[in-house]
């Protein structure tokens, strides 16, 4: 049993070390941590120099391409994703790997998160955000990677394709990761509304693909 962790990053040098350290602090360590630098112009490379990670640089192509690049370099039986501005809680991998080993019928699992702004918890609950999931490598091979044409909602598109294949998920009743909201940044709600058309377009494309197959 082995785990590869994929961290896409773009100009996130202020939070990247926290993210990587949260992986290094896991009670079950992964076999490989792959950081895909999506063309950062900040100190990302310098920060990672002393960290035990596989560093991959690509010119800026978007987060989907970065995750796909990470996946193509992953070797683990399991794959986990972590966004550079999020961080994991220490038992995240151990809980999820134990759960997946116990439930071979499921393709991925997810759990609870806390959303923090400064030191305050803003929200908590279950989350299907990619920072909180662990999936089998076979799932990624079956469904394919992320749609590189999408700049937003690429994760929803991916989950729709997973669902379309009839792959089941498992929900873990434990807090697994922390999502850090940047002060002054757009709220998730506003962000989603701004990207509504792209969201609907992505969903319509998935429906069309299903209709063609059926």
């Amino acid at each position: 049993m082995s785990v590869s962790v994929i961290i896409p990053t773009y100009n996130s040098c202020l939070t990247l070390a926290r993210a990587v350290n949260s992986v290094l602090g896991q009670t079950l360590l992964p076999n490989k941590i792959i950081v895909v630098d999506d063309g950062s112009t900040d100190d990302t490379r310098t920060i990672l120099q002393k960290m035990p990670v596989q560093y991959i640089y690509q010119k800026n192509q978007g987060v989907s391409a970065a995750r796909n690049k990470g996946w193509s370099n992953a070797t683990g039986d399991y794959i986990a994703f972590l966004d550079a501005d999020d961080c994991w809680l220490p038992n995240k991998l151990m809980c999820q790997v134990a759960f997946m080993e116990k439930h071979p019928e499921i393709g991925f699992c997810y759990g609870k998160y806390k959303s923090m702004e400064a030191a305050t918890i803003r929200e908590e609950g279950f989350s299907l955000l990619l920072s909180g999931i662990l999936c089998r490598r076979a799932l990624v091979e079956t469904v394919g990677g992320f749609n590189e044409d999408l700049r937003n909602h690429e994760d929803t598109d991916w989950f729709m394709r997973i669902s379309d294949k009839g792959i089941k998920s498992g929900k873990i009743e434990q807090f697994l990761f922390v999502k850090h909201k940047q002060s002054g940044s757009l709220s998730n709600f506003k962000d989603a509304v701004l990207n509504k058309e792209e969201f609907l377009r992505m969903m319509a494309a998935n429906i069309k693909a299903r209709q063609k197959r059926n």
């Binding site: 959303s115 299907l128 929803t156 989950f159 729709m160 609907l200 494309a205 429906i207 209709q211």
Partner: protein
């Protein structure tokens, strides 16, 4: 007449695919090519009975007992995609395009994103 149940329901037609997202149940829906012109006529303000008559007049297949349109209407109101409006709608029969195929009107319902749409604040669209 019926109107879209906004803001609970979000609807868009992209290329030739229409999609409804119900933000209370987090189900989403897509009509087949027979149902879409009927729904568009309804949402344009035409009376349901006039839409039904217009559909039959141009050769839409509305099921063995001609009740598929009523079933579509029932489904859309039961799922709170559309609601009856007090205001007076358009007079007369709508002009519908010829039927795209011989299928009866169907609104497909999808539940696979319920967890994601319901649980993740980022998907509060």
């Amino acid at each position: 007449m019926y109107i879209l149940n906004e803001p609970t329901v979000m609807m868009a037609k992209i290329d030739d695919v229409a999609i409804f997202i119900q933000n209370e149940t987090f189900c989403y829906y897509s009509p087949n090519s027979t149902a879409m012109p009927l729904i568009e006529a309804l949402l344009a303000g035409y009376d349901a009975e006039e839409v039904r008559k217009a559909a039959l007049a141009v050769g839409y297949f509305l099921g063995e007992n001609n009740c598929a349109f009523e079933q579509l209407l029932e489904q859309m109101t039961a799922e709170k995609l559309i609601v009856a409006a007090e205001t007076k709608g358009k007079e007369g029969m709508p002009v519908l395009p010829p039927p795209a195929d011989k299928e009866e009107p169907v609104l497909f319902r999808y539940e696979d994103l319920q967890d994601m749409l319901a649980l993740d604040p980022i998907y509060e669209v």
